[in-house]
């Protein structure tokens, strides 16, 4: 299977639409899920999805390597934030979303639950979406970029322009809130 970077470069260098199309199909589901989580409205998310790919096409020539999925998530986040601004729904990231500062990273080693754990809940997909949508802005963005785009916390922090400790703390706070809301064991 052709890797993501190769597909992006094939479009940038030769205008190969089939390569770009393969990239869109490969990343469509998580990206749409992330945008729906950020914008809360499927219609707005659809517009932001299209806008994301338009930006990727225009900037494809300047792609200089790195994880394509993280790159796409950063472009998608930026498109979503512009959509929020246009709709007058932009909420600046608030330090009060969680404890701020590098020291927080020490108390939350990786910000995520044990990968081997089993999580049991009777919550539905609708419950999950509602719970994620109710998180404060910063926490919601970290959760979406971590879970949907599989970005590292360093990548998330860089993308959001916040300290690493803040990103970790937001994920930690979000995890606690979601578990409480969804009734996980």
């Amino acid at each position: 299977m052709t890797d993501d970077a190769e597909l992006l470069r094939a479009y940038a260098r030769r205008g190969d639409v089939a390569s770009l199309s393969a990239l869109v199909r490969r990343h469509a589901v998580w990206m749409q899920a992330m945008l729906r989580g950020m914008l809360r409205s499927p219609a707005d998310a659809d517009d932001a999805f299209q806008e994301t790919w338009a930006r990727v096409m225009k900037a494809a020539g300047s792609y200089r390597g790195g994880k394509v999925k993280s790159y796409l998530a950063t472009v998608a986040r930026s498109a979503a934030i512009d959509a929020m601004r246009r709709a007058g729904r932009f909420v600046p990231l608030d330090a009060a979303d969680g404890e701020r500062g590098e020291s927080a990273a020490e108390s939350v080693p990786d910000g995520s639950p044990d990968p081997g754990e089993r999580f049991e809940s009777s919550a539905t997909a609708e419950d999950v979406r509602a719970a994620v949508c109710e998180l404060p802005e910063g926490q919601r963005q970290v959760v979406l970029m971590r879970i949907e785009a599989e970005m590292t916390f360093r990548e998330i922090a860089d993308s959001m322009g916040v300290p690493l400790g803040t990103a970790l703390t937001w994920m930690h706070s979000a995890t606690i809130a979601l578990r409480k809301r969804l009734g996980g064991a």
Partner: protein, 133 residues
């Protein structure tokens, strides 16, 4: 949603449940990609041709080298002046890019090739508008 392995996986499944890429949306992104590729392709070609006046100017410069106005004495060419046949060949390629179909014969002078290239777009336009001629 039942039992899931891992908290993040549980959340991911919830967020992605029912999310699909609609064919119409993919088609519209593909159309956008094709338009963007065409736009970039045409601007690249424009740069290659150095604009409407840049091309003939470049060809004229080549002619000047051939005709000895500029020669190895005032250009640091390690191989000397470019042969006229090479200039004709280069102009032929540019003309073919502009729709010239007849091809340039080896006996054509560089000056005639340059004139033929300048006529190429008009010839191509005329033959496209009157296919029966």
């Amino acid at each position: 949603m039942g039992e899931k392995n891992g908290f993040e996986d549980f959340i991911r499944r919830g967020l992605e449940d029912g999310v699909v890429l609609e064919p119409g949306r993919l088609a519209s992104i593909e159309a956008l990609a094709a338009a963007e590729a065409a736009r970039r392709g045409s601007s690249g070609r424009f740069r290659f041709r150095l604009g409407a006046w840049g091309g003939p100017t470049l060809a004229a410069a080549c002619l000047a080298v051939v005709c000895g106005v500029w020669g190895p004495s005032n250009l640091s060419c390690r191989r000397g002046a470019v042969p006229e046949s090479a200039v004709v060949q280069a102009i032929g390629l540019l003309a073919a890019n502009d729709g010239e179909e007849d091809g340039f014969s080896g006996s054509l002078s560089a000056a005639d090739a340059l004139l033929a290239w300048m006529d190429a777009p008009y010839k191509a336009a005329l033959s496209a508008s009157s296919p029966g001629d």
